[in-house]
């Protein structure tokens, strides 16, 4: 398939693998930030092509995994109401809340619909004027523009029965949090290509400078990731600390200015809780004052929700690159994609799910 096969070429892959083997003289720990990259690494077996010196640790860039438990519980509470049509991206449906998940709420009669785009949820709201339509707006900077556009349009259309349950998170503050932690092991980053396609990569210069870590903006296909690793290892071996861009076919330094403009019209930056990690300052978006009428949290006044997280689940440590999935005693025993204890076992982009599927 054009634009994909070129980046899956086995001959070029083995050339890059040899190049990395030659370059790596010391052990290095590199974190791929995005869950999409984790998925590709494990699905294509990219880690098996690397020398022992290079350890890949998997970052927090899986929106399904880091959406806080109380937000999932809020979603469940809203979705179970008879006057609601709850729209969500598909992979949020299996995420365990304190006591249940959206798929089970659907089975018990909740009107829960999988949509591909938040704009589809707008259409659902227009078609069902007697129902309240709530869209579960999760994701990183890469999904923020489309979610912003949905609210922007809803306001323009004067839709009164549409709202967003927002749980947007931002990548750079999470990288900052990981690097400032005492238990940090990460020495270099593969930054998330699609997030950078929207936001550009100027934000990363200060992080690289402050923590002396090389950062390589990287794509998602096997050759992208191998090349990103090669660029990162080269910097580490040469003692350089730079922000480099491997994903030049999609990412510019400034990013997509139109998308950024729309985001700033609709959202404001707030502190946000990350599941398994805790609150990180300035790490999320919520709707700004002008769009408060579309905030499902305010509209449905759910108040405080008491949550119950599995005590055995290590997903927080896994999301920070401190532990590997197989180091968790529940992995594959009490916790599997069929009965996940934590969100990292749910999403195809979660490290635990990827390890369970491809590496047992």
């Amino acid at each position: 398939m054009k634009y994909l096969d070129e980046y899956r070429d086995p001959v070029l892959a083995s050339q890059l693998s040899r190049q990395i083997h030659k370059m790596a003289t010391k052990p290095w720990v590199i974190m791929e930030v995005c869950g999409g990259q984790t998925h590709s690494i494990v699905k294509f077996g990219i880690d098996t092509l690397l020398p022992d010196e290079i350890e890949l640790v998997h970052g927090p860039g899986c929106p399904v995994c880091v959406t806080p438990l109380e937000t999932i519980d809020r979603a469940l509470a809203i979705a179970g109401r008879r006057d609601i049509i709850f729209c969500s991206f598909g992979d949020m449906l299996r995420v365990p809340g304190s006591t249940t998940d959206l798929l089970s709420v659907k089975a018990l009669g909740g009107d829960i619909r999988i949509v591909y785009s938040p704009l589809d949820a707008i259409k659902v709201a227009q078609d069902n004027p007697k129902k309240e339509v709530v869209f579960f707006a999760v994701g990183f900077e890469s999904t923020a523009p489309a979610n912003a556009m949905a609210v922007y349009q809803a306001k323009k259309l004067g839709l009164k029965n549409f709202s967003l349950l927002v749980s947007h998170v931002l990548v750079p503050p999470a990288m900052d949090a990981i690097l400032s932690s005492k238990s940090n092991r990460v020495q270099g980053f593969l930054a998330a290509g699609h997030v950078c396609a929207v936001m550009g990569y100027t934000e990363y210069f200060t992080i690289a400078e402050k923590y002396k870590v090389p950062i390589v903006v990287t794509g998602f296909e096997p050759l992208d990731i191998l090349q990103g690793i090669a660029m990162c290892v080269q910097q580490l071996e040469e003692g350089r600390v730079e922000v480099e861009n491997q994903y030049v076919r999609s990412v510019t330094k400034e990013g997509n200015l139109h998308a950024q403009d729309l985001i700033s019209k609709v959202f404001k930056v707030i502190p946000r809780k990350w599941r398994g990690i805790g609150e990180i300052p300035n790490s999320g978006f919520s709707l700004n004052n002008e769009y408060q009428d579309f905030d499902a949290d305010l509209k449905f006044k759910l108040g405080h929700i008491k949550t119950l997280e599995s005590l055995q689940c290590l997903s927080g440590l896994i999301l920070q690159g401190i532990k590997k999935p197989y180091e968790c005693s529940a992995f594959g025993v009490k916790c599997s994609p069929e009965s996940p204890l934590g969100a990292t076992m749910v999403s195809t982009e979660g490290a635990c799910s990827a390890y369970y599927r491809y590496k047992r």
């Binding site: 994909l4 083995s14 098996t48 929106p63 991206f89 591909y116 994701g139 050759l223």
Partner: protein, 347 residues
């Protein structure tokens, strides 16, 4: 074959199915006589009875059942009617049987358009004729509006076994070749593309087809078939895992050798699906001794449904009964069974 024939049932008078059409009275009788019997054959000389009596030419038979709840009822490349015939015909064929007879059970939701029902009946008749099977018994129930999804169909089938081969996962041996009959993923993507809310423009048609003709050619050739499996729900990955588990043998395949057409690959890439897990309704794998592999592939290629046949891997020696896959870039990983449904991902 029924092509454009008009239905003798008065569709104008009853444009929608009513509860009474399943109530056992005159309306039901009219539906059976003027639609079902018209399509599937006249009443027996001595009248309809509670069951059909069949004379079978051999004592070894295969018997299977399957229910069909597909949504939408009509999709590019097929409909619930053709699917209900081909699904059961293929299940019989996979055990090496020659399918002969089908039963047909309808559970119809009150309010289904009579035109749709007629189109489904016509499609069943055409698919049955193509597969060479006869509908010999049936049942109709109508449920309240909201209690069904238009129509559900159950078909059971009987096939006869006219050879002495043992075809089942337990007969798979180390070193056997795994052959696929063609490209994967068309049915699942065609369904997905035509579902409300997920509509995207595509020309992909379901691969829904009866495979008994193809299987007959392989068996007639004298090939020592060890196992066959059609690649329905859960796709190729689930079929291979089931065979690995039931046979106790590990299986190895190469991702690059599994045929996937460009449109399916693109749709999967866009939605975050893996074509190896996407459902098919007209594809199967056949497992034969290594030295018969080329012969079986060339036989498959003589049939229109087997044009894309090729070898995708082998059954390995001892080890854990897992399926391993050599990825596009040459690295090995596990190809696990799907857990739950494939769900479209966020980004």
């Amino acid at each position: 074959m029924i092509e454009q024939l008009t239905c003798p049932f008065p569709i104008r008078q009853y444009p929608h199915v009513l509860l009474a059409h399943g109530g056992g009275g005159k309306l039901m009788q009219q539906l059976i006589e003027k639609m079902f019997s018209y399509a599937f054959g006249p009443k027996p000389v001595h009248g309809l009875h509670d069951s059909t009596v069949l004379n079978l030419p051999v004592s070894k038979i295969a018997f299977t059942t399957d229910s069909f709840v597909v949504k939408p009822l009509f999709f590019p490349g097929g409909d619930i009617g053709s699917l209900a015939v081909n699904g059961t015909v293929n299940d019989l064929a996979m055990s090496g049987a020659k399918p002969l007879y089908l039963s047909l059970g309808f559970i119809i939701e009150e309010g289904l358009s009579m035109e749709s029902l007629w189109n489904i009946v016509r499609s069943i008749k055409n698919a049955a004729d193509e597969a060479g099977v006869t509908i010999v018994t049936g049942d109709t129930k109508v449920v309240d509006r909201g209690k069904g999804d238009g129509i559900f169909i159950n078909t059971s089938g009987i096939g006869i076994i006219e050879h002495s081969l043992n075809i089942a996962p337990g007969f798979v041996k180390s070193g056997d070749a795994i052959i696929i009959s063609g490209d994967v993923g068309r049915h699942g993507i065609a369904i997905m593309a035509s579902r409300e809310g997920l509509a995207f423009e595509t020309t992909i048609q379901s691969d829904c087809a009866a495979l008994n003709g193809l299987v007959h050619l392989i068996i007639k050739s004298g090939a020592d078939v060890h196992c066959m499996r059609d690649l329905t729900r859960g796709g190729l990955a689930s079929a291979l895992n089931e065979i690995a588990q039931d046979s106790g043998h590990p299986i190895e395949i190469e991702e690059a050798k599994v045929p996937v057409i460009e449109e399916v690959a693109s749709a999967c890439a866009m939605m975050g699906f893996d074509p190896l897990y996407v459902a098919n309704e007209g594809r199967f794998i056949v497992i034969v001794p290594d030295k018969q592999c080329e012969k079986v592939i060339s036989i498959l290629k003589t049939h229109p449904l087997g044009q894309g046949a090729c070898r995708i891997g082998s059954v390995s020696d001892a080890g854990r009964p897992l399926v391993s896959l050599k990825s596009f870039i040459g690295a090995n990983r596990i190809l696990d069974m799907i857990s739950g449904e494939q769900l479209p991902r966020i980004c």
